[in-house]
Amino acid sequence: MLCGVASPGAGTADPPPAGRLRLALLNAPARWLVAGIAAVAILVSGAFGGFDKAAPDGPPKFTVGQPYAAGGWTVTVHGVRALDELPPLRHKENSGWRWIVVVATVEVTDAGESTLFHTQALQIHGVKGAPAKYADHVAGAADAAENAAVQPGVPARFGYFWEQRAEAPVPTELQVDIFALTYTFDNASNKGVWLPAKEQPAAVAMVPIDTKPAS
């Protein structure tokens, strides 16, 4: 043996455990590494709800007459009526329109502050000749007051009035969508605010339309 050259036995002592792991990783086939990364990704995904049961197709259904908790408020849809006239509300024109009225109670539960956005709690679908996305009028059931905020912990019953062209048929039922009140950061006001969801309804239901005249 030459002087100064380590013998193979003494110079290649077992590396520490961390070193062995490093060597094993460096020498592993690429597919092992890919499989390992995928396994770690799946485990991390599972830790954050990746193994949760997938949501069923479409939003959940609410029950007419039952409160439905949707974010910062609870909405109870009581029913839907079709009426030609309901003073003191006035149509946009003197004739040619009727009202499709969704009667609902809104209670601010989690938001902790008054809101005027209850006018965007509901939308309807399946009514020909009713062009508005949100109700044309939202009025208090007790006093017909509009533009009155809903106060936290004070349930308020409203009529949501959509105008429908009189020549269009009144369907036997329509779809009512409930939209949640969600806490979000508003760039305009530069602070967190409670706003209604815009895209995805929190719950939907087909609700029959009562066509009896107002008593």
Binding site: G4, V5, E113, Q151, V154
Partner: protein, 213 residues
């Protein structure tokens, strides 16, 4: 040939090569600890740093019922409060019910330097819920009335609050609260008892605002 006789750079001994393979364990541990400490300090700073909402919170000028609260551009005195489950509509005389409780707060207000309007009126309860002045009736003071410097006006602010509300505090200010600007608000506790008002079913009157003596 012996290795030490070769020309060129000397080959370090095997032990030296091992030492240069990486820093000692203690150095590594110290480095890891410093990294952890830096991350922890960063997390603490982020946690303690005021968020946008905190930074934009209103300036409060606290006061007591019966005393003058100076809010730079106006002064206010909270006189008393009344409550009940029914309200007489000031315009049409109809009785308004509520699933909560009507609360009428009587105040005196005067501007200090130039005319002001006070659209921001809230009652805050013990759970930090805020109730805006109701829109179900016309408000004598907060629906756009301009207060003049040195002219005291007395009137009511009408609220509709939850039946389980406690420890009500009036917040009153110039700003509507919708914009990004900072508010300066009078903050005055109301000597009132919501549970006591639950049994009060006589409709409450909302008198017109008047000049105070």
């Amino acid at each position: 040939m012996v290795a030490t006789e070769r020309p060129g750079p000397a080959v370090p001994p095997a032990a030296a090569r091992h030492r240069r393979a990486g820093p000692p364990l203690r150095t590594r541990m110290v480095t890891a600890l410093l990294v952890l400490a830096t991350v922890a300090a960063g997390a603490l700073v982020v946690r303690l740093k005021p968020d946008q909402e905190h930074g934009g919170r209103p300036f409060l000028r606290p006061g007591k019922a019966g005393g003058v609260v100076d809010v730079d551009t106006f002064q206010v005195v909270v006189l008393d409060a009344a409550g009940g489950t029914k309200l007489k509509h000031p315009r049409n005389g109809l009785t308004l019910d509520t699933t909560g409780v009507w609360v009428l707060v009587r105040v005196r207000v005067a501007a200090t330097r130039e005319p002001v309007i006070l659209p921001y009126a809230r009652l805050r309860d013990d759970r930090d819920r805020t109730f805006s002045a109701t829109g179900r009736v016309t408000q004598p003071l907060t629906d756009g009335r301009a207060f003049q410097p040195g002219v005291w006006v007395e009137g009511h602010i009408v609220f509709e609050v939850a039946r389980d509300a406690k420890d009500l505090t009036l917040l009153l200010g110039e700003h509507s609260g919708l914009g990004p600007g900072l508010l300066t608000l009078a903050e005055v506790p109301i000597a009132a008892s919501v549970p006591q008002w639950l049994g009060q079913s006589t409709p409450l009157d909302v008198p017109d605002a008047r000049l105070a003596a």
